[in-house]
């Protein structure tokens, strides 16, 4: 007799997206190699949210885990999308920048420490606007410092996406890993619609949104490096691979002339469609040189 399960296979795939921020970060490390830095019992919370009538979280939605990935020292910084949309405030931003600075200090001293950023975030926390913006600036300079020594790997799994100031952090990282469900963009669909009107961007059109911001498109046009399924083991193995590989020959954000030329070469007399852009831009040059 053939046994059939009523539970479809995808239910048991070990989803990465469905875990919370802390479990996502832990899942990337070698077994029993990790410890959490500035955890919930240290109670470093946002002092600004309660003043505005919002309950804070004891880790401010930013989880820092240190350990080894494939035997190499690494730190993962994970944003909890369920708390305030994974937004960056003063505390969560300081945790992220300090963790990156410690990784850079260790790397400069000879103990190479890679960083993994799990960016499920709408960007700066509006309730802490200026402090959040300052935090993004600090974080970007911390990433630029660390990436001289060790790779900074961004993972965007979904479904919040990675937008606003944090998309800049993704942009300066060494590698970006995405799922089909994930989105990456500077301005989110609703912001574009609000600022430029419905004719410019229809934020209710999911097909349009994923054709522009979705993981498949971002990897297809060379702005992200790996498209993986929403499976914990698939994402962990992609991260291990990039940690093992080390620095790319050239960081994408250094390829200013390549992108300047590409933008200049676009024919904007006609509406450019996402598939065309993939064909025009998908070359190995934009993925940090020959693989």
């Amino acid at each position: 007799m053939i046994e059939t399960s009523i539970v479809p296979a995808f239910v048991n795939r070990g989803s990465f997206i469905e875990m919370n921020g802390r479990d996502r970060a832990k899942s990337l490390f070698d077994k029993n190699s990790w410890r959490e830095l500035v955890g919930p019992f240290d109670r470093v919370e946002s002092p600004w949210l309660p003043k505005q009538g919002i309950a804070p979280q004891s880790d401010d939605g930013c989880i820092v885990i240190k350990g080894t990935i494939g035997g190499t020292a690494a730190v993962a910084i994970s944003l909890e999308n369920a708390f305030q949309g994974g937004s960056i405030g003063e505390v969560s931003g300081a945790k992220m920048a300090s963790a990156l600075d410690l990784a850079a200090r260790d790397s400069a001293a000879g103990e190479l420490t890679a960083a993994v950023l799990l960016l499920e975030t709408g960007g700066v926390r509006l309730q802490e606007a200026n402090l959040g913006l300052a935090a993004v600036a600090e974080m970007i300079s911390s990433i630029l410092n660390l990436r001289q020594y060790a790779p900074v790997i961004t993972v965007i799994a979904g479904t919040v996406g990675c937008f606003g100031g944090m998309s800049l952090a993704a942009g300066v990282s060494s590698y970006i890993v995405m799922t089909c469900e994930a989105r990456l963009g500077l301005n989110g669909p609703e912001v574009i619609e609000q600022e430029s009107g419905l004719e410019e961007f229809d934020a209710s059109d999911r097909e349009l949104i994923w054709a522009i911001h979705g993981g498949e498109q971002r990897v297809g046009m060379g702005l992200a490096d790996a498209l993986v399924e929403d499976k914990t083991e698939a994402i962990a193995s992609a991260v291990r691979e990039y940690v093992r590989k080390g620095l790319p020959p050239q960081h994408r954000s250094r390829q200013v002339n390549l992108y300047r030329d590409r933008i200049a070469a676009l024919d904007n007399a006609n509406q450019i469609n996402p598939l065309q852009l993939r064909q025009l831009w998908s070359s190995k040059e934009s993925k940090g040189g020959p693989q």
Partner: protein, 98 residues
């Protein structure tokens, strides 16, 4: 936003472990449960929803009718229903019993 505190002086059993469960996401909450430095149990709640002191008291009275650990509990709440509150508290107890 409202701060609510409760004391359960008869909860005297010594506890050694601590637990952190939940996320302060819509309809959910986080619980930090750890050994109390003083005798009895102390509960501190920060909730974004005002006016539910009686409901919190009812849920915690029920929880401490079964649980007698001398703990300090901190709750950050983003509108968890009484059922979710009790489940999160029981989950934290499960973690310290592992």
């Amino acid at each position: 936003m409202e701060h609510i505190t409760f004391e359960y002086p008869t909860a005297q059993r010594g506890i050694t472990k601590r637990a952190h469960v939940g996320v302060v996401g819509s309809g959910d909450m986080e619980v930090l449960l750890e050994p109390s430095p003083e005798s009895g149990a102390h509960v501190e709640i920060t909730t974004s929803v005002n006016g539910f002191r009686d409901a919190w008291k009812a849920v915690l009275d029920r929880f401490f009718s079964k649980f007698d650990g001398a703990v300090r509990i901190q709750i950050n709440d983003a509108g968890a229903t009484p059922g979710s509150v009790l489940l999160r508290l029981e989950q934290a107890v499960e973690v310290i019993q592992q």
